[in-house]
Amino acid sequence: MLNHTPNEVSERTGLVVNPAKTCQPIGAMYAALGIHNCLPHSHGSQGCCSFHRMHLTRHFRDPVAASTSSFTEGASVFGGSANLKTSIKNVFSIYKPDVIAVNTTCLSETIGDDLPTIINESEVPEGKYVFHANTPSYVGSHVTGFSNMVKAMVTTFSKKEGPCNGKVNLIPGYTEPGDMRELKRIAKVMGIESILFPDTSGVVDSPMTGRYEMYPAGGTKVEDLVDSGNSLATIAMGTFASEAAANELDKKCGVPAHVLPLPIGVKGTDQLILELIKITGKPVPYELEEERGQVVDVMTDTHHHFHGKKVAIFGDPDHVIAITEFVIGLGMKPIHIVTGTPGSSFDRQINAILDAANIKANVKNLGDLFTLHQWMKKEPVELLIGNTYGKYIARAEDVPFVRFGFPNMDRSVHSYFPVVGYKGALRLIEMISNALLDRVDRDAADEDFELVL
């Protein structure tokens, strides 16, 4: 498949071939799942909601509940106000969430539904909440949709209403529940109380209980979202997915925003921990020092596998930026770097990393996998890092492939482990070196086939 991708890169103005992104609403839906007892609601056609649930289900292998306004021809002409009001009434009476998080779609945005007014006019039971994020599919990508919904959490809930609670807000970005657990653990071993939001751990990686729970035990509690306005500071991980909410919290409640890259790899994790020290004055516990030492130890043990290897990387911007930094630290050379999400700050951040390492590479935001594939045909690489969709290119070009980022629909268990933190770095090193060494074994002639590598 995809072997008919021509080598010559031609300019395309109308056509996207094999996208490296998807639309805003799914990101909003994923973020909303990270609020405790919250039902995401898709204000649009039935298909949007169905597609998003299907896509998330394929990635997490857990049930994903969300409701929809089920737009019909009438709604698209007369507006979706009645649909949303009926939805809110039905959802509270039958599904009984504490919160309904509404995301808009290209349809409801284009017909101009005024969400704040509609929600205002809706019957919301005492002690329950309905809020919304504007997520037209023709703007940004699933990552900005996530960002918008997280920002809406701040706008809706966060309040500065008491003395400082001594906590640190952590905004984890569009990451796996395994990552969110790891971030909470890091804060905990440092003796820091944190409010992490959104928090999909315990929601889309919920344990087997033998019954279906529409609202599993996890998720950030509303009172914690409110309390985030009283925190010491906010650490936003990733400029694309998390910065907007942190800035909003700064503006609204005066909680200082600290924006970092996703803490992937030693440097990224060091930055996070240094920032936590700066904010709280807490010392680094031995436990984390030991973990860091282990990662560096493993990096030295394995550095000869990585050195000088050419890599192609694609995926969501915050992830791609962080892993580009990491693989350069391992001695590898990223030469093709693509994100599907639009934004020139991606190019700026990547180029800064590349310049510091004196590496020249093809870099593109709002790119697609067809372009990436063409680049790889022109200048081959020895490793491809990206989400499930990379498997076609990896097969066509016979390149080792490490699955990293969203979505991952052809392998399981990924959502239970982190890529962030020192633990995540260790895991990534294992994944990358296994991919490279499996290839060495596969390609070795009998006489070169060795037991010890």
Binding site: H4, F51, S67, S76, I94
Partner: protein, 456 residues
């Protein structure tokens, strides 16, 4: 610990019936729009059109709209190909905000130009999405111009998501197919058949083709599993249409009957009984002694072999209870029979898009007290699977983790099936899959988990 299962919404009460022995039973309410606020398992018009047309292997499927609709349907269908794999790529116009303001026609025309320049296609489909329906891009005009300019087929599909439900999407796809097949009605028909409504998931159509070959029965055109342009345009020459996926393809069969005077029959190749019945039905419809005789030979050879192969599974499955929630009515009907053949009882059966005839057949087939439901949601599935003590659920991607969370086995009879489940061979594969899931040791662990949870 007692756990209150939620009652269905008031508006949903007529979409759920419980079979009783009474003559005059309440008719199920179906083919309605979903209730606003429902956690429906249903999709939209675009999805319906896309799943029907997507298996056409050498077509360029361009999704005209924002990226999502293209991304979520990027190679998800599981249809296999014996030729081109063009259809497994994702092409779209990825409409941005400025396109929404100024219109997307130019971008669409550019996308067509770029595909023609790079790939020399014979057939392009252009799918309309919600927002395109609202901003009013004239797809017909863009397609007409491109056809004129390039001398190829560029076919628009009116599949704006809000304009009805998935059934409307099937219809839109049927119109596109009829458009492709053309205006001409060949008076002289060929000896062969068109096979409508098999999408070659896990290579299923190849099993059927091998049967047809042994029956001495040429296939003129497959619609749309493993289909290609050159083959589809020959479809008007066939003598008979056989329709498997009735939900999506009966409409096309009717259109073709009107336009090309091709009669059609409904078939189902799921389960031994329906497979044998369908093969005979085709042979009788064609009324050629040689085909009839070859068909009987085929059935004799394959039926007994498969029946015997099912024996060990019957022993391990007898008395187990099945729940069914699938897309169309015909598949549900076959599945009830298949479970019966395995000594299993169907305790709950539902579809996303079944019509009232389907539900009447289901009601007649179903055992006393069976729950029958249309366009259901996770809460209802949970409620009735628990009440009826189902051991396995047959469904699609969204139902799988739900079943697992309830500690119920699962069989994907949708896009994610990895084994062909049709024909005599497929009936055995199906039994194996059901048996492997039901009798897996993992369920013991779940029972322990559940005890631990309930003791808390």
């Amino acid at each position: 610990m007692s756990y209150q299962l939620p009652d269905p919404l008031e508006e949903r009460k007529h979409s759920i019936i419980r079979k009783t022995g009474k003559q005059q039973e309440e008719k199920i309410q179906c083919n309605q729009n979903s209730v606003a606020g429902a956690v429906s398992q249903r999709a939209c018009v675009y999805c319906g059109a896309r799943v029907v047309l997507n298996p056409i292997t050498d077509a360029y499927h361009i999704v005209h709209g924002p990226i999502g609709c293209a991304s979520y349907t990027f190679d998800i269908r599981g249809s296999l190909t014996s030729g081109a794999d063009t259809f497994r790529n994702s092409f779209s116009t990825d409409l941005r905000e400025t396109d929404i303001i100024f219109g997307g026609e130019k971008k669409l025309a550019a996308a067509i130009d770029e595909i023609v320049a790079a790939h020399h296609p014979k057939l392009i489909f252009i799918y309309s999405t919600c927002v395109v329906g609202v901003i009013g891009d004239d797809l017909e005009a863009v397609c007409r111009n491109a056809e004129k300019q390039y001398g190829i087929r560029v076919i628009p599909i009116q599949s704006s998501g809000f304009a009805g439900n998935k059934n409307a999407g099937y219809k839109a796809a049927c119109h596109a197919l009829l458009n492709l097949m053309g205006e001409e009605n060949p008076v002289e028909k060929e000896a062969g058949i068109n096979f409508l409504g098999d999408f070659n998931l896990a290579g299923e159509i190849w099993i059927n083709q091998s049967y047809f070959r042994r029956m001495g029965l040429p296939v003129v055109s497959k619609v749309t599993g493993d289909a290609r342009y050159e083959e589809l345009i020959k479809a008007p020459r066939a003598r008979l249409n056989i329709v498997q996926c009735a939900g999506s393809m009966t409409y096309l069969a009717k259109l073709m009957r009107e336009k090309y005077k091709i009669p059609f029959i409904n078939v189902s190749f799921y389960g031994l009984e329906d497979t044998a019945k369908s093969l005979r039905k085709i042979a009788y419809a064609l009324d050629e002694p040689e085909i009839l005789q070859k068909t009987e030979v085929l059935i004799q050879e394959e039926y007994d072999k498969a029946h015997l192969a099912l024996e060990p599974y019957r022993a391990r499955l007898a008395g187990k209870k099945a729940a069914i929630y699938v897309g169309g009515g015909f598949k549900a009907i076959s599945l009830i029979k298949q479970f019966r053949d395995l000594g299993m009882e169907t305790v709950m059966v539902g579809t996303q898009t079944g019509n009232s005839d389907d539900y009447e057949t289901i009601r007649q087939l179903a055992a006393e007290d069976t729950i029958i439901l249309d366009d259901t949601n996770p809460s209802e599935l949970e409620r009735f699977m628990k009440e009826k003590g189902a051991d396995i659920l047959v469904g699609g991607v969204k139902e799988r983790p739900l079943a697992y969370k309830l500690g119920v086995a699962f069989c994907d009879h949708n896009h994610e099936r990895k084994q062909p489940l049709n024909g005599f061979v497929g009936a055995v594969n199906f039994a194996r899959e059901v048996e492997q899931s039901i009798n897996s040791p993992v369920w013991h662990w779940i029972r322990k988990e559940r005890r631990a949870y309930n003791e808390k």
